[in-house]
Amino acid sequence: MTSLTALCTLLAVSALLIIISYIAWKGIGSLSFQFLTDSPKPVGEGGGIGNAILGSLVLLLISSVFGLPLGICVGIYLSEVGKGRLAGVVRFIVDTLTGIPSIVTGVFVYAVLVLPMKHFSALAGGVALALIMIPIVARTTEEMLKLVPHSLREGALALGAPQWRMTMGVIIPAAAPGIATGAMLAIARVSGETAPLLFTAFGSRFFTTSLNEPIASLTVQIYNYALSPYDEWHAQAWAATLVLMTLVLGINIMVRFLTRKKF
């Protein structure tokens, strides 16, 4: 039986290695500096994913500006401030918000932002990503804050600090590395999201940073290229996937490496 369970594990790990190595093998051929800085062009003329990388960075920035502070605040509430049944309800809601499919979030933001504004926009895309980010950041923040030893809290209170001062000045700096890694993991997760962006940020073929216009993103670009009938665009999709995977896996591995010493 041991060999059976070991076989299961081997299957899963080999699936991961197969996928990663295939992406690396297929994608490395089309990578070049021009590919990373050009905007998309019609089939046969080359082109690149420069605007998609820029667009993804812009969307990540918007979603972090909205999502990180709100998520951290909810985490602080759940860990430090909230007591009793209301906190339990909020925790349950945050937990189930993590499970909501990202496409439903996209539909919600479409109904609430895109329809009144009457056009797709980077802002709507950023808000959709922020809504996905907030529950993740809230949970990891809460867990990191719970790991801070009680003696620190009691010491601060014994020295006469009010609770807000204790939270802001003692607990949060103590948990700051953990909160930062949680934020990084959330950013890595959100940078791989496609579905909500399909009808909020929509996609574009130009270099734009305006909040009021549709914006391209790496994930949507990969999706569009993958479904196209052109081999050249398929090759570009693989190369773009390599870029995306480097970002996402890089953040994940770095976070895991940084949290190693704690255990």
């Binding site: 369970t5 299961c8 349950f92 499970g99 496409i103 439903v104 979030t105 890595a188 399909l198 995977m245």
Partner: protein, 295 residues
């Protein structure tokens, strides 16, 4: 802080209200029949959710059938059998499967998995099991089976991570008591599994919740045809894929409203499923103060 927390509740309420409001047109037009109608006819304005519900349920079921035994094997191996210096890096690698973006799975599915299934696996399945209603029809590599397999790969890290937490939360005294009474190693593991059974059920339901809502990977490999067919080789359509594919192409208010109603159904289903799962998992991991890292 308190206001921000209230904001969370407000967002969920706003989601339900916005989804319900925008699907009112479709709800008034079709009523309950929306859930049982098989027709999806944008041209004549006749919409029904049954093919999508079937596709979602069928693909998630296939994913769970493949993934649950696999995840149980992985979790048992990593918690009960592997030495620590193997369990940590291998556990990390399995969790890394969850970090891969969905669209990357879809891309890999179209260009690697689908041809592989088309060339080797599906002909073999058709030869050996073609007499059952599940393996009939033309073999294209794109269909319910491919979608189910991709979902299985995506759902396995989640189920195995939660089951690992659940098994770790089972008190060591249970293991020692079983061994002291003369149980073999595998009988002891059975005791541990029975002990953690609610948590394991919660993990499976959590995986189900994730599989139901998965969009991009499924859209790219499931064929996107609204039909109900028992054959696994046939293309199918899930709720999430329908919304992803047709939302920006929807002409007319009724079409859009029908799609939003699909979104509302998906929202309610995942809300309920995830709620049940969280309750089950909390009850088991709360006993030893285990930090549930499933998300």
């Amino acid at each position: 802080m308190f206001l921000v927390a209230l904001l969370m509740v407000g967002i969920v309420v706003a989601m339900v209200v916005a989804l319900a409001a925008d699907s009112m047109l479709s709800i008034r037009q079709f009523g309950f029949g929306f859930l049982t109608s098989q027709r999806w006819n944008p041209i004549q304005g006749d919409f029904g959710a049954l093919p999508f519900i079937y596709g979602t349920v069928a693909s998630s079921l296939i994913a769970l059938l493949i993934s649950v035994p696999l995840s149980m094997g992985i979790a048992i191996f990593l918690v009960e059998q592997a030495p620590y210096y193997i369990a940590r890096p291998v556990g990390f690698l399995v969790e890394l499967l969850a970090a891969i973006p969905s669209v990357v799975y879809g891309l890999w599915g179209i260009f690697v998995l689908a041809p592989f299934l088309r060339e080797y696996i599906e002909p073999a399945l058709a030869k050996w099991f073609g007499w059952t209603p599940f393996f009939r029809g033309s073999i294209t590599g794109i269909g319910l089976l491919t979608g189910g397999i991709i979902l299985a790969i995506m759902v396995t890290p989640i189920i195995s991570a939660v089951v690992r937490d659940v098994l770790t939360a089972v008190p060591g005294t249970q293991r020692e008591a079983a061994l002291a009474l003369g149980a073999t190693k595998w009988e002891m593991i059975r005791v541990v599994l029975v002990n953690g059974a609610p948590g394991i059920a919660g993990a499976v339901i959590l995986g189900l919740g994730r599989a139901v809502g998965e969009t991009m990977a499924v859209t790219m490999v499931i064929g996107n045809r609204p039909q109900i067919s028992f054959s696994l080789f046939e293309p199918s359509y899930t709720i999430a894929s329908a919304i992803a594919n047709e939302f920006t192409e929807a002409t007319g208010d009724l079409y859009l409203s029908a799609l939003v109603e699909l979104g509302l159904i998906l929202f309610l289903v995942t809300f309920v499923v995830n709620g049940i799962a969280r309750v089950l998992v909390w009850n088991v991991t709360r006993k030893t103060g285990g930090v549930g890292k499933a998300a």
